[in-house]
């Protein structure tokens, strides 16, 4: 069985092309301690299980396609082809527009450099290891911050959803905490957490926990009462109620929160790296900007986008797998 085929059976169409890229990106960092640990957890969760269910879903997809054929006038092969190529197509279009802007000299090249010069800088900074170094730092900050932030946000959300008075008590605190600009507490941050990755992780945690918390509350409130009754009359323990009902029922909303959080985590890491500029992609961008090295700024920005995109893709992938029951029958 060829690689590609296998992929399509397991993954939402469209992922099969971006995934190798993303995985390559992530695997390049395999040497980095923290990152590796975090990723291998994600991998074990997100990769092994779909393999086990690969056989099951393959035939389903065929049936899906057959039904699709009856429903749509246009060729499903064409459609599938477009979906597979979609992300690449988008990137291609962006690059073409970009090249167009450059060639037409709409903006001076120090504002919008040529794609070629950015690619060149990209290759250079990969070769001398700088890009991967900074990427690994930001990746660590993002992943660790995301894990902690999601843990705090979802626990707090869980508690608030169950003890509504806490919402009244805590919301002023939480919203205030969330809306305080980073520079206002930057001195305390550096005082308490130093100027390396810890302080950045804290910023990621602060930005990430809020949407996670809110979506947890929304998810838990959406659990149908009828299902709660079923668990109640079976005398489920709190923990069983949580793991077997609330978590799976809230999952759709939680995963959306996670998609938002993952992207915000990258922003948070960058904000932190601007506060005390030393390492990480944000710092790289800040320094490149200060050195008027626009191609390097672009390389940094593109790397950040790829990082955010791979986290987003990871969650989409998780979503596709965890919510597979939704694809069968009416809900």
């Amino acid at each position: 069985m060829r690689e590609g085929e296998n992929c399509e059976r397991m993954l939402p169409v469209g992922f099969c092309n971006t995934w190798p890229l993303v995985m390559m990106l992530i695997h390049m960092l395999a040497g980095v301690s923290y990152a590796t640990a975090s990723i291998s957890i994600l991998e074990s969760g997100a990769f092994l299980i779909p393999f086990q269910s690969a056989k099951k879903s393959s035939t389903t997809m065929k049936a899906d396609v057959r039904r699709q054929r009856q429903k749509r006038a246009y060729s499903p092969m064409l459609l599938k082809g477009i979906r597979r190529l979609a992300p690449i197509l988008t990137v291609l279009i962006i690059v073409i527009i970009w090249q167009g802007i450059y060639t037409a000299e709409v903006y001076p090249s120090f504002l919008i450099p040529s794609p070629a010069s950015v690619l060149e800088t990209f290759v250079e900074s990969v070769q001398d290891g700088i890009l991967l170094y900074h990427l690994s730092i930001t990746l660590q900050e993002t992943l660790i911050g995301l894990l902690i932030g999601v843990a705090i946000g979802s626990s707090l959300g869980y508690i608030i959803a169950n003890v509504p008075i806490l919402e009244d008590l805590l919301s002023p605190l939480i919203v205030a905490f969330q809306s305080t600009p980073t520079i206002a507490y930057a001195p305390l941050l550096i005082l308490w957490f130093g100027n390396d990755i810890q302080s950045k992780i804290v910023i990621v945690v602060i930005i990430v926990f809020f949407p996670t918390m809110m979506n947890t509350i929304a998810g838990l409130r959406a659990v149908p009462e009828g299902l709660r009754d079923v668990f109640k009359v079976m005398k489920a323990t709190r923990w069983q109620l949580f793991t077997k009902l609330e978590l799976p029922a809230a999952l759709a909303v939680l995963l959306v929160g996670l998609k938002t959080s993952a992207t915000l985590a990258v922003i948070g890491a960058v904000v932190g790296e601007f506060v005390s500029v030393n390492e990480g992609l944000g710092s790289m961008v800040a320094i490149a900007r200060n050195q008027y090295d626009t191609p390097l700024v672009f390389v940094g920005v593109i790397s950040l986008s790829l990082l955010a995109l791979s986290l987003y893709t990871l969650v989409s992938f998780l979503e596709y797998y965890l919510l597979r029951w939704r694809r069968f029958g009416r809900t």
Partner: protein, 357 residues
């Protein structure tokens, strides 16, 4: 007459600040209008200032010298037309009671700076190099723009790289209030004492310089006029800056004192005093104020202004020296911000300075 005025954007860095009083005075006293321009001021990050001037979106900006070299090396078509800070404004501050009495004592110490970029990094590197040291001999800590806070909380760093006209005063103020760890007074190692580096000045685009040098000259001269006014009469300048700098300390008491001082200074200036006399008059001003105003925090911004003036004042305002550019370029190459030396001839001009004298 208002209708004939041409709109002109002047881009400054950071935030509204008493240090920018020369420009405020140039506007308030009508020097810009006299030259035919309606100046508006915007505050942006330094690279944005450079890029917007280079792109022709604004004609003038105020940036530090090393930014000009780096930017020109990266194809920004800008020229440096007026050196505003005659002395490089960066230095290292530390506890006067510490065992660090000279720059070489910094070896092995923890030095805080915003980050490995910008004027403070160039300044520190130059200072170390001039004393036969390098970055490897000290322990750098990137702490962002919170130097006084980190320094005064104690324990985290032994010294901090700062702008000389502001942070040392803030730290001293806290030390005087007993609020700065064990520090009672501070010692400063100015970069300028060991090396003459090109510092902040006015930039414009090469295109404008070629197309309409009179335009550039008019703005530069208006600024020059403002700068001279500030140097000569800081009390007046302080009062004129009120509308520009939000939160500028100005109690009724201080306002009254400054007004009196400003009027007295005008009278004093009418006698054509020497530069030395004027320097002395500025010190006298501070003493007078300190004797009338009880709260030292009320005077801190005025002190910042005086400290800034010390960095601006020179025999020939606006003039920049090739040597200071070369020294800066050497530092940048050492830092790796610059790959190869560039032609420094075209990157600055003193042509408008000569006119003013």
């Amino acid at each position: 007459a208002q209708d004939d005025l041409e709109d002109e954007r002047f881009l400054l860095t950071f935030v509204p600040n008493i240090q920018f009083s020369p420009l405020y005075v140039a506007i308030e006293q009508g020097y810009a209008e006299d030259a035919g321009y309606n100046l508006t001021i915007e505050y942006l990050n330094e690279p944005d200032v450079v890029d917007l001037v280079a792109a022709g979106q604004a004609n003038f900006g105020m940036v530090s010298g090393e930014q000009v070299i780096t930017a020109v090396s990266r194809q920004r078509p800008i020229v440096y037309v007026y050196e505003w800070f005659q002395q490089y404004p960066v230095g290292v501050v530390l506890d006067a009671a510490s065992d660090i009495t000279q720059v070489s004592d910094l070896a092995g110490k923890r030095i805080g700076l915003p980050g490995r970029f910008g004027a403070s990094y160039s300044g520190l590197t130059t200072l170390l190099t001039a004393n036969d040291m390098s970055e490897r001999d000290v322990e750098l800590q990137e702490i962002g723009y919170v130097a006084p806070d980190v320094f005064c909380t104690g324990g985290a760093v032994d010294a901090v790289v700062v702008y000389l006209n502001n942070e040392p005063l803030q730290i001293q103020l806290r030390a005087d209030a007993g609020d700065c760890a064990d520090v009672e007074s501070v010692r400063v190692f100015p970069v300028a004492e060991s090396t003459d580096l090109v510092a902040n000045g006015i930039i414009t685009s090469t295109e404008l310089l070629e197309r309409d040098p009179n335009h550039v000259s008019a703005i530069v001269m208006a600024f020059d006029h403002g700068l001279r006014d500030v140097i000569n009469n800081p009390a007046r300048a302080y009062l004129l800056s009120e509308a520009y700098v939000e939160g500028l300390p100005l109690s009724d008491e201080l306002r009254e004192a400054l007004n009196t001082l400003a009027d007295e200074q005008d009278a004093f200036l009418a006698d054509q005093p020497t530069r030395e006399d004027i320097i002395a008059s500025r010190s006298a001003m501070l003493e007078t104020l300190q004797s009338t105003i009880a709260d030292p925090a009320e005077l801190i911004q005025f002190q910042v202004l005086l400290a800034s003036i010390n960095l601006w004042d020179a025999d020939q305002l606006g003039y920049s020296d090739m040597a200071s550019w070369e020294a800066m370029q050497t530092t940048l190459i050492e830092l790796g911000s610059l790959d190869d030396a560039i032609d420094l001839e075209g990157i600055f001009t003193n042509q408008f300075v000569d006119e003013t004298d």
